[in-house]
């Protein structure tokens, strides 16, 4: 047990801190409120700059343009990014989830073809997993791929695809063998989103924005050399991507949560409740302290998980605990913000009376999706029950 940074971790932090201070864009505040469609070229340029400095994919092996950073160094990286309020990178899924999967399962030709474009943000990646009839039961997906000469012919529909509107390439999970049990007939294809037969439609969510897309695939031709991993071994490839999803989320989220809870504490001192500052209301004090404690525990759980993953070598079911914890905590935190702000909590960004530019009304609505996206709370509890505690599989 030693929570001090090692000399290597200090050196890593200091090197990045110096680079970031010199290179972080100064005008991000002007861009961050704009729709993603408008700011996307800006984010591409920022990622390219990070890549030139060797900072776009610190977790990747050195041979692939990364820094072979430990999980703790990755956490340091995101902490520094948040500290200087640096913009996010354009190719978030490519860098965080799909690149690592290609590095793990790809052929040499695939790595050579795709890795540079992911790093430079020249090719943006999206993820085609969920379908209208395959959400939690992902392995039941029906989008089919039939072999025809040197091509697969893909037909089906995907949903909840982030970055679908801007995606150049997609990690697509398809059914290649309908005759075998569902997990055994899946294959992962790397699909050019500009192929004929790919149609992308925006999916408007309850917040009013369209973060996600629906994608329709009609007789889309995918060359056989674009199979990632082995044919009919797609389940393992997809699970590897999902593990990265559940593991990588946390490090960045903690800083957002810390910022939110500290902002709520500041508001508590200003907002009046029953004729006195909310900070003096004993019940709000209790609720705020509980939330503060849970945000801190989220950070500590994360550090413990990082240490465990570092000693076992791969992301595992630890990510499920984190996902369950942060998603439910965020809903409690957003509800607490609503209680604190009273009638002002409901005001939208466009209303002149809104507090903090409407982030709390948005946060309340957006957090409702947290316990559903990236694996529902029910699925996370199934994973903990079966894979961690060894209880029999319930489904």
């Amino acid at each position: 047990m030693d929570l001090n940074l090692t000399p290597e971790e200090v050196a890593f932090r200091d090197e990045f801190r110096v680079w970031l201070q010199a290179n972080v864009p100064k005008d991000w505040a002007e861009w961050r409120e704009k729709p993603l469609e408008e700011s996307f070229p800006y984010l591409r340029a920022w990622q390219r700059k990070l890549q030139e400095g060797g900072w776009a994919a610190v977790s990747w092996p050195k041979d692939y343009g990364g820094r072979s950073a430990t999980l703790m160094q990755q956490a340091i990286f995101w902490e520094e990014m948040a500290r200087l309020e640096a913009p996010p990178m354009a190719n978030a899924l490519g860098l965080g989830l799909i690149g690592p999967t290609i590095i793990a399962y790809g052929t040499n030709a695939q790595k050579k073809r795709f890795i540079p474009g992911i790093l430079s943000a020249e090719e943006i990646w999206c993820q085609g997993f969920s379908e209208p009839n395959a959400g939690s039961d992902l392995a039941a997906l029906q989008t089919e791929a039939r072999l025809a000469d040197a091509h697969y012919l893909v037909n089906g529909q995907k949903i909840w695809m982030s970055y679908g509107w801007v995606g150049d390439w997609c990690e697509l999970v398809v059914r290649t063998d309908p005759a075998v049990p569902k997990h055994k007939g899946l294959t992962v294809l790397l699909v050019d989103m500009k192929s004929p037969g790919v149609e992308v439609r925006p999916l408007r969510q309850m917040t009013g924005e369209s973060e996600f897309n629906e994608v329709f695939l009609r007789d889309v031709r995918v060359p056989v050399e674009n199979v990632l991993g082995k044919v009919n071994d797609g389940w393992n490839v997809a699970v590897s991507t999902l593990m990265h999803e559940r593991g990588a989320y946390g490090a960045r989220l903690i800083l957002i949560f810390k910022r939110n809870i500290n902002r709520l504490i500041e508001l508590t001192r200003k907002v009046q409740r029953n004729g006195r500052p909310a900070a003096q209301d004993p019940i709000l004090r209790q609720k705020l302290a509980q939330c503060y404690a849970e945000v801190e525990i989220m950070r500590l759980n994360q550090l413990r998980a990082f240490s465990r993953i570092t000693s076992t070598g791969a992301p595992g079911p630890e990510g499920s605990i984190q996902k369950l914890f942060w998603s439910e905590l965020n809903q409690r935190l957003q509800q607490l913000a609503q209680e604190l702000l009273g009638p002002y909590g409901q005001l939208l960004a466009s209303d002149g009376h809104a507090i903090d530019k409407g982030i709390w009304s948005y946060g309340y609505l957006r957090s409702r999706g947290n316990t559903i996206e990236a694996g529902t709370s029910e699925v996370q509890r199934n994973i903990i029950g079966h894979f961690v505690l060894g209880l029999p599989r319930s489904y």
């Binding site: 929570l3 703790m72 500290n262 001192r269 004090r285 525990i297 759980n301 029910e378 029999p392």
Partner: protein
């Protein structure tokens, strides 16, 4: 950065687990809890042989001089075994207090016999108001003599010394002195006995000022939270084992999600409490600026979680969980007693609020 056990810490944990499994099985816990004091002389001397009674105290007084983190690991195992008797009162409460406040001569006289397993002590804090706030302590020493009553004093009947927290200082009293009257208070936790203690003009030896209590109390609070984590872990293990073997509708009940998700939540709560306790121990050991907040976070979370985990554990066991024969209620009782000891979740949330909401600067702390 390494947030986990190193090799020697793993060794300590494993050997403590083995020790308690051999020397303090549930049959022994049940035998001792049926006695008046829950004290086993034989078990006590074995705890001393292991060095546990002197685990964090300096070698010059016969201690083993390990760190707070090691104490926390030992307490976790003690909690898992539901160790009955005066270990917490003697070593964790009285021992850390003497270590922090007493003079060298006093430590030789009182702490050294505790380390050697030859003496037992307890701390008397609570009064009729039932408050863990130092400001609510009324009992005052006059001319070196104590007069008044303390309540909820653990293990007072088998303590050689009672350390009394008074308004104007901390005093050590010989429990055999005339004017000391010890009466049992009948609490839910059968493994750790409580007493009321009356002092009628009893001479007390001054150990130190009350201002010095903050640190030993923080250490004891974190250690208690660690013991609670051990109890939660045992409750979880029992529930998972039962869910795998108990069959209804022709299937092990653990296959049903309503049961499985209870277990998953128990796991989440136990691990989260453990993270908070580990960090509190580290922060105390290294005098981190957020140590006080870390201790409150650990105790408030463990206080709520140990109750919740106990509820879930009994629910998973169905009717069997409600029987005297099943061990779960013994952990459930301990959890309730520990929940209020050194302040419950509400107390520590308010304490945390003072440290965060009322503090001038709240700084964002990252990973």
């Amino acid at each position: 950065m390494q947030f986990g056990l190193n090799e020697s810490q793993e060794f300590l944990r494993d050997s403590a687990r083995k020790f308690f499994a051999g020397e303090c099985p549930m049959a022994e816990v049940r035998r001792l809890m049926e006695t008046d004091t829950a004290f086993g002389a034989n078990l006590w001397s074995k705890l001393a042989e292991q060095g546990y009674t002197g685990i964090i105290f300096p070698e010059e007084f016969g201690g083993v001089a390990l760190g707070i983190f090691e104490l926390i690991l030992l307490m976790e195992e003690a909690g898992r075994a539901l160790l009955p008797g005066p270990f917490f009162s003697t070593v964790v409460m009285a021992g850390t207090l003497l270590d922090a406040l007493a003079t060298t001569a006093q430590k030789r006289k009182y702490l050294a016999p505790i380390c050697r397993g030859e003496a037992r002590a307890t701390v008397a804090f609570f009064e009729a108001e039932g408050s863990w706030d130092l400001a609510d302590v009324r009992l005052t020493a006059a001319n070196g003599e104590l007069k008044g009553e303390k309540l909820f004093v653990p293990d007072a009947a088998i303590a050689d010394w009672i350390i009394v927290v008074a308004q104007n200082g901390v005093f050590l009293v010989d429990s055999k002195a005339s004017g000391v009257r010890v009466q049992p208070m009948l609490g839910m936790d059968l493994t750790r006995k409580l007493y009321s203690v009356r002092f009628d003009d009893v001479p007390g030896e001054k150990i130190g000022e009350t201002a010095g209590l903050a640190r030993p109390r923080a250490i004891a609070t974190a250690a208690l939270a660690a013991e609670m984590v051990g109890g939660m872990q045992r409750t979880l293990d029992l529930a998972v084992e039962y869910a795998k073997t108990r069959k209804q509708f022709g299937k092990p009940i653990g296959i049903f999600q309503a049961v499985q998700h209870q277990c998953a939540d128990m796991y989440l709560e136990t691990e989260s409490a453990r993270s908070a306790v580990y960090y509190a121990a580290w922060a105390l050991q290294h005098h981190a600026p957020d140590a006080a907040a870390a201790v409150s976070i650990a105790k408030l979370y463990a206080s709520d979680a140990s109750r919740t985990v106990g509820n879930r554990g009994i629910q998973v066991h169905g009717g069997m969980g409600f029987t005297w024969e099943n061990d779960l209620h013994l952990y459930y009782r301990r959890a309730k007693a520990s929940e209020t000891t050194f302040g419950d979740a509400t107390f520590h949330r308010e304490r945390l609020a003072r440290l965060t909401i009322d503090a001038e600067v709240v700084s964002a702390r990252g990973a």
